[in-house]
């Protein structure tokens, strides 16, 4: 049976057509995506990478809720200008506790992967409440409501930590038990700033460079 005849069969048989589409469209994913899910280098933390604590995780969830990621990337590419502008380029191992990943696709604002430690907490607070106070030409939105809401109101922190533990994040029982207390008295903006200040700080750049030179590309 030649190709044309086979094709005539598919053309006249709905079941074959469905099967054909499924098969042909699955190949790419099976060869390209599936192996990456088992690639250890993509799921092994760097030496300085740790799980988010209760406050950082809450800050991160606020970041997601407000859609900061639609304007800010968290991915410094290995290019001279980017490393100059933002800091050491991003490594896969730094993101193994990121569910979901927040690399972004658009830089309406600057990259934030290495924002930790760049500004003071106060600068961030003023900036988040009204960006134009510190950067007059800024087109970033203001987030006044973050100062009005308690951080403890951002979902059930213990349930979150338990779910993440089931996904393999090493939280101890004590971490989970103490979580609500750690959020007490904090506003949403405080938690968000704690998150921003720890972003990208887990990287020992020299050690990572050495490792790259050794085994990397």
């Amino acid at each position: 049976m030649n190709a044309l005849e086979l094709h005539k069969k598919i053309e006249e048989n709905a079941g074959l057509l469905i099967f054909g589409i499924l098969l042909v469209s699955a190949i790419g994913g099976l060869v390209q995506v599936l192996p990456s899910l088992f690639q250890e280098s993509l799921s092994t933390p760097l030496s300085g990478t740790r799980v988010y604590d209760a406050v950082e995780l809450t800050g991160r969830d606020i970041y997601i809720r407000e859609g900061c990621h639609v304007c800010h990337s968290q991915q410094v590419r290995p290019l001279v200008a980017e490393v100059e502008r933002y800091g050491p380029y991003s490594r896969a191992g730094e993101f193994v506790y990121d569910r979901p990943f927040l690399w972004g696709s658009k830089r309406t604002g600057p990259d934030l992967h290495r924002i930790g430690g760049k500004y003071s907490d106060i600068w961030h607070e003023v900036h988040l409440l009204d960006p134009r106070q510190v950067v007059p030409e800024s087109i970033m939105p203001a987030y006044p409501w973050l100062a009005e809401r308690p951080a403890a109101g951002v979902g059930d922190i213990q349930a979150k930590l338990r779910v993440l533990r089931r996904l393999g994040h090493p939280y101890a029982d004590a971490d989970i038990a103490a979580a609500p207390q750690r959020l007490e008295g904090l506003r949403e903006i405080d938690a968000l700033i704690v998150y921003l200040q720890m972003l990208g700080t887990g990287l020992d750049a020299d050690a990572a460079d050495a490792a790259d030179a050794h085994g990397g590309h």
């Binding site: 589409i21 499924l22 790419g28 899910l37």
Partner: protein, 491 residues
């Protein structure tokens, strides 16, 4: 009514879906215009969390893609699968369920985005309760669609159905795999994948949602309605078949071109780049097929605004599918990634291709559904001019700002020092954002004209009852469900 005539096409659900689609076009693009204005006046959210850019932008993309786009695809899919199968829709009740359940998901999903429920994954933002609902509705869509094909009275399965079929099957696969997550509460879940792996899975989904929905799904629309409007058969049926399989095979690989120079393995990026270049071939094969098909109908093109929209959409389809592979080359992507260039590319596809081919189809379809003339051809021609001007202006403005951003961000002097600060570059883009806003208003204004025009065409009219014409010999198929239909007619 139906008992006297057991076999008329179920077209009322088509009319309803067209109405919803137009409604979402108006609302979703209004959100787009609003978001575009926030680039110029960031205080336009008035301190209201639900008008904040980070929530309104996903609302825009969800309303246009899933509200406007998918409703249009369901409408035209249901319409064309009946005509190409010569049989009434399988389980019309289920089709009505798909219609209303989908609108409910888009509406409540949109509100949930404003409330801050989001998975953050682009084009898959809706949280897990919606993901489950979407999967169920999608399966129902598939049952109606493939059920109709299974009961068809004509041997070959026409090419448009393959593309709609690809839309249904592949999107189901992508959606289910990418949405896997452990729920915490109703409004929050954590992805089953983390970090770089999450990124690879997400862009496998994200790119192919573009591929099999915004490109493939709408190609289904094109393959049915272009030959109908041009009154010509497809120029080369065989070419369309080859292009279909090449498209289905190669698109799936291209996702990681969204992750060039990101922290994912280089071989993954390379396969994506190569496959994106390969994609040019089936994409342009389709373009050539379309252009050759209309080339015999130039006379009609001058008079008929519906055909004009469709032909123009082909041009922008060609542009977007040429630009895309170029942007997938790593050395080009270094400049375009993260900039407004991507936004320009998106909207040359979204406005120039998706919206235009749909507009052309609606101008053709709606009068036919109610057996009347279009309310106003003049308004439709005016719409055409507005849509063309809006799209061109949008793309040009974003090319200018995108290429500037890309080059200025990367520019370093001889000592390796950055030449420009981020904030200065940002401030310099203001004029382009102004042009984009004007472009959006033009395009949205045109869409409003269409909404009015179609409303006046439909007003006070009933959907005409159409029966399947008999199928001529070598192609007639008498078996199974078609037989059942005959028996019911006798009873």
């Amino acid at each position: 009514m139906q008992r006297q005539n057991p076999e008329i096409y179920e077209d009322r659900v088509v009319v309803r879906l067209v109405q919803f689609s137009v409604l979402w076009a108006v609302l979703g693009m209004a959100a787009g215009v609003w978001v575009a204005a926030e680039f110029l006046w960031p205080t336009l959210d008035f301190g209201q969390f639900w008008l904040s850019f980070g929530r309104l932008r996903p609302l825009h993309t969800n309303a246009v893609i899933f509200g406007f786009g998918v409703s249009a695809l369901m409408a035209t899919g249901f319409y064309s699968v009946q005509r190409t199968s010569h049989v009434r829709l399988f389980l019309p009740g289920l089709a009505w369920f798909c219609c209303y359940a989908w609108q409910l998901v888009v509406l409540l999903g949109g509100l949930s985005l404003l409330a801050g429920w989001t998975s953050s994954k682009e084009y898959a933002e809706l949280e897990w309760p919606f993901d489950i609902a979407i999967a169920l509705i999608w399966v129902c869509f598939g049952i109606v669609f493939f059920g109709t094909i299974a009961r068809r009275r004509i041997r070959p399965i026409y090419i448009s159905n393959w593309f709609y079929g690809g839309l249904i099957i592949v999107i189901a696969m992508l959606h289910i795999v990418n949405s896997l997550a452990l729920p915490v509460t109703l409004d929050k879940s954590y992805s089953l994948y983390a970090g770089a792996q999450d990124a690879i899975v997400q862009w496998w989904y994200g790119h192919n949602a573009v591929g099999f929905l915004l490109t493939g799904g709408f190609l289904g629309m094109l393959y049915y309605f272009l030959p109908k409007q041009a009154d010509q058969p497809i120029w080369s049926y065989r070419l369309s078949v080859v292009a279909f399989w090449a498209f289905t095979y190669s698109y799936i690989w291209a996702g990681p071109h969204h992750l060039h120079y990101n922290a994912v393995p280089e071989w993954v990026q390379s396969t994506a780049m190569v496959m994106s270049l390969v994609l040019l071939a089936p994409s342009w094969a389709t373009l050539i097929n379309g252009v050759m098909t209309v080339s015999k109908a130039w006379a009609k093109l001058k008079r008929d605004p519906a055909l004009k929209f469709i032909v123009l959409s082909l041009a922008f389809y060609g542009l977007a599918t040429f630009e895309g592979p170029m942007m997938a080359i790593r050395s080009v992507n270094v400049v375009s990634h993260f900039t407004d260039w991507t936004i320009g590319h998106v909207h040359s596809g979204a406005l120039g291709w998706n919206a235009m081919v749909t507009y052309g189809t609606f101008y053709f379809l709606v009068p036919r559904l109610v057996g009347a003339e279009l309310h106003s051809t003049r308004l439709a021609n005016l719409h055409f001019v507005l849509a063309l001007a809006g799209t061109l202006l949008y793309i040009l403005a974003m090319w200018a700002s995108g290429v500037s951003q890309g080059l200025l961000w990367l520019s370093v002097d001889r000592l390796g020092e950055l030449s420009f600060g981020f904030r200065d570059i940002m401030a310099g883009m203001r004029p382009y954002y102004g042009l984009r806003l004007v472009a959006g208003l033009l395009f949205w204004g045109g869409t409003l004209l269409m909404a009015y025009n179609l409303f006046m065409t439909l007003r006070g009219r009933r959907t005409v009852a159409v029966s399947p014409p008999p199928v001529a010999e070598p192609w007639r198929l008498e078996r199974g469900a078609a037989g059942i239909a005959t028996e019911r007619a006798r009873a």
